[in-house]
Amino acid sequence: MRTVHVPDQILLSVDKPARYIGGELNAVRKNPDQVSVRVAFCFPDVYDVGMSHLGLQLLYGQFNSMPNVYCERVFAPWPDMEEKMRAHHIPLYTLETFSPVKDMDFLAITLQYEMSFTNILNVLDLSGIPIYAKDRTDDDPLVIAGGPTASNPEVLAPFIDFFYIGEGEVSYEELFNRYEAHKKAGGHRRDFLTKILDLGPIYVPAFYDVEYEEEPAPGAEYTPRIRSIRPNRPDAPATIRKDIVDDLEHSYYPTKPIVSYLQAVHDRAVVEIFRGCIHGCRFCQAGQVYKPVRYRSKEKVMQLCDEILQNTGYDEISFTSLSTDDYPWLEELMTEFREKYPHVGVSLPSLRVDAFSLSLMEKLAEGKKSGLTFASEAGTQRLRDVINKGLTEEDVLGGCRLAFSGGWDRVKLYFMLGLPTETEQDIYGIAHMGYQILDAWYQTPQEKRSRDVSITVSTSFFVPKSFSPFQWAPQATPEMYAEKQAYLNGQIRNRKIRYNCHDSFLSTLEGVMARGDRRVSRLLYTAWQKGCRFDSWSDHFRADLWKESLEECGIELAYYNYRERQADEIFPWDMIDYGVSKQWLRHEYERALAGKPTPNCKERCSGCGMMKLAHTGLCFEERRVES
């Protein structure tokens, strides 16, 4: 076994050397010579971010629970470390055994956001693995990618040997077992790819050909649409079906997560209380790709808490899901947990604000009144109907009134700019909501309310994503974004209301990556070659280099972002099946444009098609019928 030596001198010359040393509590130690499958699991961002990610802990733990597999970790080195590694010819290594990533059987990369893509190319390069899959040999690991952002794999298609679509808990064991047998029989890497096609969730880009039309697409100047995506071998399936965990209650859960030495971004125990989301917000990709809704029982959640707290010693825990409020046993769970663990802090993301949650939040914060958060997303009811966001103005204002009379003094509001059908009035509505909340504070009797109030309005830009009903929608141009932002900024004129906004060009790029096709891969390669990495970190984001790359590669933003896609258009990701049908998504898009909301999965099933893949979960439960 080769190992990489990293001199102390180098570690001491970079920021936070603990990012590069491994050996943390609960990191798995195995003898690499005694396993037959070695996997490097890569979160393509800096250690402190990657270590906060539940998916990493989950697959790491699950892979290592297989006796024939050793899974180790690798992250994107921060630029200071990259510089040293390149200067001293140190290849990227795994944190567990300091083995070169190149010596692994698999490099499994998790895709969580588009703007980490340049880091992926950089990780390959630092590992000494050819960037393009076609250039790899039997000496290179097989490069896998998975995770929610694999829902449009095409921009990364030439760089990845195969994608795993859906929930990793399901098929990896079988995949690794097949690999073990394949390796023992002396098989070649490329041949292995043909042996896993029948598993279902495997997409091997090299086995599919994409053809384009002759004529430019309507609304584009020179870029034609996709004519067809077809497998080029008989055993490659025409559609790749996502894997779904049928029995969440008994599925693997990482109860011995690695506890980093460094303070990770989210430095606490995490228990996923349920998966999926009943609401179909039309901009949301996660809501669709994580369907159907599956709950963990309160007893199971408590059992997981016991084990994780015992194994980590954390004094804070986060109960995660896409929408905490919809957990059926939330109140009981909180009571029970607080009784059992009075000293463990609790964080509950995305909680609705009402009397129950206020008293809960206050209890959780031990008397301290943290801020209130509302993700309204849109400034008027009309636009909220378009995006199918159930939160009403009264929900927000009522929640604020209640909170203000209890002495709360901080409110954060989140909105999106550039949503389909948005008008000036909708943007004005954002400022208006800020003012209404301020009025609510002034109307609260002085003896009850806090001495001062701070209201923060944050906007991000709407970026259409694959598998969301808005996948057809046009994305605003950077100029339009800037205009909207400036307008809103002009409307907010009160020192008690603060306005936060984002860089619009980053959203433009995110849009290109989110809905791009194989032709966009060249852009990614070019930008990386010019030195782009850590694009989601504003101090490392190089807009100038990206602009140059767009120009050089002839990427037409009008085609990828600005035009509305046609009803019958073939999307780059059409070979992938997340269960939700394209017809249903289209139907949702049309309802959106007509301003019609759709009931959530609990109120009434709207027949999204998920039932054909799911075997359990909410889709099959009896539900309350709308009265």
Binding site: D8, Q9, L11, L12, S13, P17, A18, I21, G22, G23, E24, L25, V259, Y261, L262, Q263, D267, L309, Q310, N311, T312, G313, Y314, D315
Partner: protein, 239 residues
């Protein structure tokens, strides 16, 4: 009457990869180890209660500490042996408790008692006669270093002569130095800073930070001139 308090002074080793774990991170590592071991600490009062745990002297990143000192206040009594065993059973690699003792009521914190720190400095294998070089270095009347200091809230670069802060410096063998350094709250000699000057002095500035520094002990200089480590201090106090 004061309720009884259960304060412990603990000696521990910090080395291996743990050398790259900073002071605040180490605090968290230990707190979590206590949680896992089911050992309850007393929490401070105040707006942001935190467990009562402190270190005599933070160790610089990259250095190994053979006998580091921390102090804890336990919520309930426990024997030294039990404390050590229960915590050691759950610590990650690179840190180990070696010794512990009760701190009677009124014992001053180690932080306020330490005034000398002892180091071994392991030098890289180069074609250099280190003992000879050291003689020359020590004959310097002044060893100035530049450092940032706060003056009236503003940061400024100042020059400090560290020569008086070297209590003792000698070659233990061809590749190892022994250093006894002044290490109080006000005056603190950082061995890596001293070595930087040394490398420059012998014409090898590129070797900076290439030495391995081990802190072997923390002491108080007693009136009779002898050194007492923090555990001995507790014994003297008992006499």
């Amino acid at each position: 009457m004061n309720p009884e308090r259960y304060r412990k002074r603990v000696v521990f080793w910090k080395g291996d990869r743990m050398r790259f774990v900073g002071h605040l991170d180490l605090l968290r590592v230990l707190q979590r180890a206590m949680n896992r071991a089911g050992i309850e600490l007393v929490f401070s009062n105040g707006f942001n209660p935190h467990p009562q745990m402190s270190f005599a002297k933070p160790l610089s990143l990259g250095q190994e500490g053979m006998r580091e000192i921390m102090e804890l206040e336990l919520a309930s009594p426990m024997t030294d042996q039990e404390l050590i065993e229960r915590i050691n059973a759950v610590l990650p690699p690179g840190i180990l408790l070696l010794d512990a003792a009760d701190m009677p009521e009124g014992t001053k914190s180690a932080m306020s008692m330490v005034d000398l720190a002892e180091y071994e400095i392991h030098l890289p294998d180069l074609d250099i006669d280190y003992p000879e070089a050291l003689k020359g270095f020590l004959s310097l009347p002044e060893i100035p270093i530049r450092k940032l200091a706060k003056f009236h809230g503003r940061k400024q670069e100042i020059t400090v002569d560290i020569r008086p802060r070297i209590r003792e410096l000698k070659a233990l063998n061809a590749n190892t130095f022994y250093l006894l350094a002044v290490s109080t709250g006000e005056e603190n000699l950082k061995p890596d800073k001293m070595m930087q000057v040394f490398w420059n002095y012998i014409g090898h500035p590129e070797q900076t930070a290439n030495e391995q520094i081990v802190r072997t002990g923390l002491y108080q200089c007693r009136e009779d001139g002898t050194l007492a480590d923090m555990m001995q201090l507790l014994e003297y106090q008992a006499e």
